[in-house]
Each structure stands twice: as C-alpha cells, then as structure tokens.
C-alpha cells in the first residue's frame, strides 16, 4: 500500500497569497475610506475653494485664480499671523521637547508618589481643551488674574502694578504658548519616556565605564539613539501646533487688535465668522507646502536614524 503524502501545490500557494492580499486590502479599507473622506476630500475642497470667491452664505462661486492668495499675502494681518505661527510653533516645541525630556528622565527614576506624579503629568492631555482654556482664561484674566493676585500678595507687584496678560501683545503670546506647552507636554513626555526605556541599560553602563559624564551621556549616547522617536514627537508636535487654533480662539480670539492670530485662527475668523470662505481657505492651506517639506525631511531623517 502506498502512502499518499499531501504536497502543497504551487497553485494553492498562489491562492493563499491572493487571499492574504484580499484580506490586507480589506483590513486597510476602513483607514483608506476614513482618510479619503475626512482628510483628502476636505483638503482638495479647500484647495479648490481657495481659488474661488466662495462665501459662507452662498453655494455659487466663480473661479478667481490666485487673487485670494495675492490679497492675503499683501495683508499686514496675514503677515503678522504667519510670523506668530512660526514663533508659536518654534517656541512651544522647543519648550515641550526640553521639558518633556526632563520629565521623562524624572519618571524613569523610582520615587515615592511616582504613580500620582505620572497621573498629574497626563491630566492636561486628557482634559478637554475648551474646559481647560476656560480655567486658564481666569488665570490670565486681565482684570482678575489669579497670578497677579499671588504676585501682589508676594510683594512682587506694587499697588499700581499689574500684568495685562491678555491685553498686552507680548504677554498674550506668552499666555498662549504657556497653555499650548501645558497641553502638549504629557504626550511628548510619554513618547520620550518610551524612547528612553528602549535604550538598553548596557549601553548606558558602557558609556559610564568609558568615563562619559551625565551630559555627554545624554547628548552623545541617548539623544542620538532616540533620534527616530524624537523626530516623531517633534513632527507630530509641529504639525499639531502649526494647525491648531483652539487655544488662540478660546483665549484671545486673536486679540488684542488681531495681534495674536495664527494662520489657523485667522482662517476661521475670515472664512467662517467673516463668511469669506475663499479667502479663509487660502489662509488655511498656505502652510501646506511648508508642512509637506518638513514632514518629508523629518521622516527621511528618522528612517536613516533607524539603523543606529
């Protein structure tokens, strides 16, 4: 009696690969549908609207070419908002990365109350921004600022001295950046903590044996090894900050005298509140090329660093 041995045929192998491919497509489909419907289509629509004279109260529009772009670029308010966007992003991301590193290193240590500290650090990430900003609104209120009252009691401010946090152009930007840093810090801390814990202890020990001090260990060993994850944290933070309008809108509504607008809040003011959808869209998509280049550069940089 001869034994029959089942040998997988070439044909069945192909079938399995096809089935796998189908399954892969199926599993990717929800993400593709989501991105197409909620990201790609609105983006293309915004691009289209920026070339029209569309307004909020109308479904009719005419093609106006680059007129909206020419008009907004010549507008001093746009120029200021563009500058604010870069200042807002650069300063807040620098603060977030530096402070996130400090916090992540602290959380790597073992200490009493670490669980509570971790909970408190994560709180701002979980709090709804509208609710949190209302709290901050009171903290920075120009008439009733709790910071000022504390500074008065502490003797820092004299009887006629007062900080107008939201009424002074510089202090208002400081307030906006402070809230954004407070809000972004937990995410950055967690990402950086993950990066730090992924570095094998042997590497640190080897560096210590080779005589590296704390600073040179951080800057010459740990930070280069964390580059991919640091890049992701910075990229996410930059894109999120560049496109965020919630803090500005809830805290200052772009004031005083439209001096704290970022591009996203200006786009909302012009396009939705003012009803000039075409102009608002042209402001909103102005940074797309910048963000695109930034994302490509940073992702390439992260990919090359992965071999470390």
């Amino acid at each position: 009696m001869s034994a029959v041995v089942a040998v997988p045929s070439v044909r069945s192998g192909v079938t399995i690969r096809r089935a796998d491919r189908r399954l892969g497509v199926l599993m990717l489909a929800p993400a593709v549908v989501y991105i197409t419907l909620l990201v790609a289509l609105p983006f293309l629509l915004a691009l289209f609207l920026s070339l029209t004279n569309s307004s909020a109260g109308s479904l009719d529009f005419s093609f106006v070419g680059l007129r909206n772009f020419r008009s907004v670029v010549a507008n001093p308010l746009f120029q200021r908002s563009l500058r604010n966007t870069f200042v807002f992003t650069f300063v807040s991301q620098l603060a977030v990365i530096v402070m996130g590193n400090v916090l992540a290193r602290a959380l790597m240590k073992t200490f009493r109350g670490k669980a509570i500290a971790r909970f408190l650090i994560l709180m701002p990430w979980a709090a709804p921004i509208s609710l949190a900003t209302l709290g901050w609104l009171w903290i920075f209120d120009s008439t009733f600022s709790v910071i000022n009252w504390v500074l008065k009691v502490a003797g820092w401010l004299g009887p006629r001295d007062w900080y107008y946090w939201l009424g002074d152009t510089t202090l208002a930007m400081v307030a906006i950046i402070t809230i954004h840093v407070w809000r972004m810090l937990p995410f950055s801390t967690i990402i950086l903590l993950a990066g730090l814990t992924s570095i094998p202890n042997e590497v640190r020990e080897a560096a210590a044996i080779d005589g590296a001090g704390t600073l040179s260990r951080i800057f010459r060993v740990e930070l280069p090894m964390m580059r991919p994850i640091l890049t992701v944290a910075v990229l996410f933070g930059v894109v999120f900050t560049f496109t965020d309008m919630s803090v500005v809108y809830l805290l200052t509504r772009g004031g005083p005298f439209n001096s704290t607008h970022v591009l996203a809040s200006l786009a909302f003011q012009e396009g939705v509140l003012g009803g000039d959808v075409g102009r608002g869209a042209s402001v909103a998509i102005f940074l797309v090329p910048v963000l695109l280049v930034l994302a490509i550069v940073m992702l390439r940089s992260a990919r090359t660093a992965e071999v470390v």
Binding site: N53, A56, T143, Y164, L166, R253, G254, G255
Partner: protein, 471 residues
C-alpha cells in the same frame, strides 16, 4: 463554526455595511426630521437665562396646540454664525435660525419674509425703523429676516463714584468721560479701570466703537452704501479714543470678552460701561453690593451733539430655503411677535419689541397701536416688575428708541457691514489708534482699505449698493 479568516471576512463585510449606513445616515435622519408636523429652531442661549426658561416650553406648547413637534436648540452667541455656515453648506438642519444682528450674508439661502412682515404691520403697525433696517435689503428688495425684538444699549454708571466727582446723573457727553477719568482715580483709587469701554474683539466692543464713531460724525458707509470711513470725522473719533484711553483705561479693555465689562462693573472695578441690562440683572440676582450704586444713562453725545448708540442685540429670524416646513415656520414667527409682551417680561425687560404695536392692549385701534404699545413698555420700565430700587431705575430705557440705531447706520445693514463686524475691522482700528500701535491716521487708512476690499467683494456679488462715491 467560522474559521478566523471567515470571521475576519464577515467582519469586514459588516464594517463595509456600517460605512455605507453611516454615509446614508444623515439623509435618512434629515428626511425623518423633516417629516410633516415638525419644526426645528436654533437660537442663542439668552444673556438673561430666565428668557430661555420661558421660550422653550412656550414654543413646545404652541406646537402642541397645532399638532407640531417643536424642537429648540440653543447655542452660545458666538456659535450662531458658524452653525449657520455649516447648515447652509450641508443644506440641512433647522427650519428657523436666529441671528443676532446681521443675517444679511445668508440672504441667498433664506426665504423672503415680506408677506409675514406685511401681515404683522397690518396687524400692529410699522415695526421700529432699526429693525426694518437690520432685516431688509433695499438693494435686492428682500425681507431676509424677521426681528421680534431688539435691545437698548445704555451707559451703566456707578452713581456713588460719579456723585463724588460732582455728576450724580452720570456722563452726558463723550468729553465727560475724559474729564471724569482722572477724577474717578482720585475718589476711587481701588478701581482698576476708571472708564470701561471695551476695545477688544468681542460683540460689546464692536458696538461701543461704532457708537463713538457715529457720535463724532463718522460711519463706515453713507446712506447709499458708499464707503466713507476715511474721513476727518473718523480721525476725530480715533483721536478722542486715544485721549480717553490714555487718561482713563488700561490694557485690560483690549482683551475683554462679552462678559468682561459686566464682571468689571459688578466687581466695582470700573465706574462706567456700555451695556444692556443683563449685567444689572446678574447683580440683582446675586445681590451684589454694587446694586445700590448701579444706574443708567442714555447714549452719550459727541462734539456736535450727535447722540447715537447701536442696538445691543437685534434678533433676526430667518427661514432657510431648504426647510420643508416654511409655512409652519412663518406661523411660528408670527406667534412669536404676537407674544411680545410675554417675551419682554420673560427677559426681565431685556428684550424690547420690534413691533411696539404688539405690546398694545388687545382691541386698540391700529392707528393707536404703536403709541399704546410704547405706553405699556414705558409702564414696565417706570415701575420695574423685577424689583429695581428705585422702581423707575430703568425708566430711561423706554425713551431709548430715538438714540438707538442699526448696524450699518446711516444706511441699511448689509453683508459687507456684517463681515466688517465679524472680523473686527473697527475694533482693530480703534485699539491700534488708542494704544499707539499705529497713528490714528494710519489705523484709519488700514481699516478703510480693508473696508473697501470687503465692500467691493460683496458689490461684485450684487448684494451691496454704492461704490461710485467711495472715499
């Protein structure tokens, strides 16, 4: 039993079905909401919360009598325009949308309410002129909205402080504020902001700077819709504001939101604000110490005697073209005007009827209705049923109509005026001039250029007149 692969494939089909259902969902829901016998209304959360407690059950009850299910949704005043934008884009949503101030930008998407206004005027007499000028576009000849109420915008002053500086009845002219500021500092040094007129990006400041502009003889447009902001009168208004800011205000006023001047006055941190009576009612409800010093003045006079103030709030109800319940919506709006007395009382005298005749005693002859309505309104203000001491504290409100006007004065409200209002072109100009961020002349030039750009855009859409005599 399914294998894992079969399970995943089935799951995938379910997800696909879910996506399809989600995509179709709004259509199904909207169709359902538009079924006969339904009416959906979107309006603001009133500054006097007692009003909403009256309005919502009243609307429901009105619907119940007619077999109509009425739904009322409230949004904050800042969300009224964004919600309208979203509903127009989706071509679905509520049947009736209430605007505060200017609904004119949405004219193309609302039905003409000329027949409703015509019938109401036959029933009650003419509506107040500022309501007409806020809801009718003479250029397109369309009654795009219906106003059931408007709100006066008097000055609120701290009588104790003003008494100490020798003006127990408060300021009469804008120059009085400049004179009073240093005096207030002397008698009430604890007050942070002697004169509290907002110069920020909010609704109250938007009204306040228009008041200053108009009373100095300036305006954004003339009667024909030509842009005339670039004028010696505007310059005079800006120079005045710069002077007032330097002697009587602080940077706080540059950051105020709609509640800030109320809070500052109620905390006795300022001696004068421009506001409706909502701050006063809050002080009353909370029994704040300021209440005994809380008094009102009419609009202030400018250097040539012009005395004007913008309405503080002006309702503008529109019925969307996409509404399937337009006739019911019209009936509802008529009923709302019919209930003008209840509305005024429910808002604790915050709302003033746009049809004075609707507040007249039933049975009054048409020719006498406006007069009789005005008398009823005066009776309420002269003896405030909500516990003012003295009872006639609000009496001047009954005489506020002659010094109250519409956004867009001396012309009609229009979409260009609306965009200028909503993008803070004027508050920006005043704040820059006041703080020295720009010279008054440069601030005026910058604002005038932007204003002309906005007007020209709307003129191209054939919704705004003028242009031949722009300055």
């Amino acid at each position: 039993m399914d294998t894992r692969r079969q399970f995943i494939v089935k799951g995938g089909k379910l997800v696909a079905a879910g996506v399809a259902a989600t995509a179709a969902g709004p259509t199904i829901l909207v169709r359902d909401a538009r079924a006969a016998g339904q009416l959906k209304i979107l309006q603001w959360a009133h500054f006097v919360p007692a009003y909403d407690k009256w309005f919502d059950p009243w609307a429901k009850e009105w619907g119940a009598k007619k077999g109509i299910d009425v739904t009322v949704d409230h949004v904050g005043f800042a969300d009224v325009v964004p919600r309208a934008t979203a509903e127009v884009a989706a071509q679905s949503g509520h049947d009736i949308h209430m605007f505060l101030g200017l609904a004119s930008a949405f004219e193309e998407h609302v039905i003409d309410l000329g027949d409703v206004v015509g019938n109401l005027e036959k029933k009650y007499g003419k509506q107040v002129e500022l309501a007409h000028r806020s809801t009718y576009n003479p250029f397109t000849k369309k009654q795009f909205a219906l106003s059931d109420m408007w709100v006066p915008d008097p000055g609120n002053y701290h009588r104790d402080v003003w008494n100490k500086i020798g003006k127990p009845n408060g300021p009469v002219t804008y120059e009085d504020l400049v004179w009073a500021a240093p005096e207030v500092k002397k008698v009430a040094p604890q007050m942070q902001i002697p004169i509290g007129i907002g110069l920020s990006q909010d609704i109250d400041s938007n009204m306040a700077v228009r008041n200053i502009l108009w009373c100095h003889g300036g305006s954004i447009q003339d009667k024909e819709g030509n842009v005339v902001l670039n004028s010696p009168e505007t310059l005079r208004a800006l120079e005045y504001t710069k002077k007032l800011y330097s002697v009587g205000m602080t940077q706080a006023v540059l950051s105020w939101n709609a509640a800030s001047n109320n809070q500052a006055f109620n905390a006795q941190e300022t001696s004068y604000i421009l506001n409706s009576i909502s701050a006063y009612r809050t002080a009353q409800d909370n029994k704040l110490p300021v209440i005994e010093h809380y008094y009102f003045t009419p609009a202030l006079k400018g250097p040539t005697g012009i005395q004007l103030a913008s309405e503080h709030v002006m309702s503008g109800y529109v019925v969307w073209k996409f509404s399937k319940n337009q006739d019911v919506a019209k009936e509802f709006l008529t009923a709302l005007v019919d209930a003008s007395r209840e509305s005024m009382l429910a808002s604790k005298l915050y709302n003033f009827p746009s049809f004075y005749g609707a507040a007249a005693d039933p049975g009054t002859a048409l020719a006498k209705k406006n007069e009789a309505g005005a008398a009823w309104i005066a009776a309420q203000c002269n003896k405030d049923p909500f516990g003012s001491t003295p009872p006639d504290k609000l009496a001047l409100l009954a005489r506020s109509l002659p010094w109250s006007t519409n956004l867009g004065y001396p012309g009609f409200a229009n979409p260009a005026e609306g965009e200028i209002f909503d993008t803070y072109v004027l508050t920006d100009m005043f704040a820059k001039a006041a703080t020295g961020a720009l010279s008054p002349k440069d601030a005026m030039t910058e604002a005038s250029n932007r204003t002309k750009e906005i007007f020209n855009k709307w003129r191209q859409k054939k919704m705004v007149p003028g242009g031949g005599k722009d300055k």
